[in-house]
Symmetry: D2
Subunit: 143 residues, 4 copies
């Protein structure tokens, strides 16, 4: 996971699971969201910064490939990186690992676009945020 | 169910269930919400009316007593009534029945308060809405 | 939508929305699930058949491209087709339309694999189900 | 909060919120669940113990009184105690506090019954668990 510089770990809760006794497939995206929040914190963003960037970005694409399930109270880690950084959009990639069974669970990504919510148009990412991501990801971002 | 004048029926979906193979307890409140939306429609409210009243009300109390479970794709009916109607608040009561097993699943209520969202204070219910509820419920409301 | 032979229509509920006032991106997958359940019903499957096939299939891939938002109580239609049908897996494609704004909301797919849950291996799809899907989709499946 | 001996703290996530920009009322019960899981951990239960007790208990009653909202990325603490301990059932009480606004958010409870899932009847709570709860709560349980 050395290419995914930020990690966060949590337990699967009852509300995450479904009638098959495993995490419901759509809830992996909530886990990925946790990965992105951890990433923002690692960049040093304040709670207020995180509220603003998450409010001002919309998800335009989401994808997940499922490898193995996780059951209630399994320990799950999500490892996160920013893989693409455009003018107004960026792609965040996630790998989820079931630490209780030591098994890769899933990998996926979301593409987010920075928007002017009122005018419903894309607008450039904040310069300061972009600089922080570039400094943090370094060469990984350009490979 | 003759005391609950409005009913709505739907199937349990996979996302509603949890690791015990039954509807997750907190999701009963989503089912109750469907009962209230059906109630508004039965009163003749437009989609725009429903958006406004639901946006302008906050839940201040919620309760559920659980009788029997429901599994994926069971048919569930929610029967709804308004049981109390105050100046700015009202209490909506719900009975959920598992039609697939012909078993009462749960009963519960939510108390909602009409608020001025910007000022965060309770304000009187719209006169027109109150009149419609009173006309529809009739003597049931005053028993 | 003539290439998506099954449609189902419903209202956005409060629990579907998020702090941006629109349907939370992960919940589009719950909407897609409704499309697949409607598809099974259209094929003539019984509730028991639907319980079995949904229990015996796991999602191995999920994707969504987001076009436009939907707000509370908007009317949403999901149009569904089976686009690929393999030995043990199949790919279901969905288009969601916001009927209240007459705008395409999203398109996406899920790939499901029929498994022997106990042994955790893929097994061939039921012959009868496969035949029904092929008869129903006809040439669309082979284009 | 000195009467609620176990606390856990977390951030509000986007999926927790609804179209009013605050935590959706039904999701408070997911927060309460986190409180109970933290309680089990504090008692020294292993992950396997927690999986077993949560699987073998069903919620028979749930209640919440809402005091103040919480928005995305607010810091929330849930404080938890066991308030009643019967032969096969127990009542867990929760207080949620919005630490970001320093405001009590809600208080509530869930009543759980230990069941024989296969036979669908209540059965006595495990002696060992009961003893641990009694030792931990001490006089609070008998007030």
């Amino acid at each position: 996971m050395h290419d995914y510089p930020v990690s966060t770990t949590f337990r699967v809760e009852y509300g995450d699971t479904d009638g098959q006794g495993r995490v419901f497939f759509a809830n992996y995206f909530l886990f990925f969201d946790r990965g992105r929040f951890a990433y923002w914190e690692r960049l040093g963003l304040s709670a207020e910064d995180i509220r603003r960037i998450e409010h001002d970005c919309v998800v335009v694409e989401a994808h997940c490939t499922y490898r193995a399930p996780a059951a209630f109270y399994d320990l799950v880690s999500v490892h996160t990186r920013v893989a693409n950084l455009g003018r107004s959009s960026f792609r965040v990639e996630y790998v989820a690992v079931n630490d209780s069974t030591n098994t890769p669970m899933a990998e996926g990504y979301t593409v987010l676009v920075h928007v002017d919510v009122a005018r419903n148009t894309s607008v450039p990412l904040p310069v300061e945020l972009k600089a922080r991501i570039q400094a943090f990801e370094g060469h990984r971002l350009n490979d």
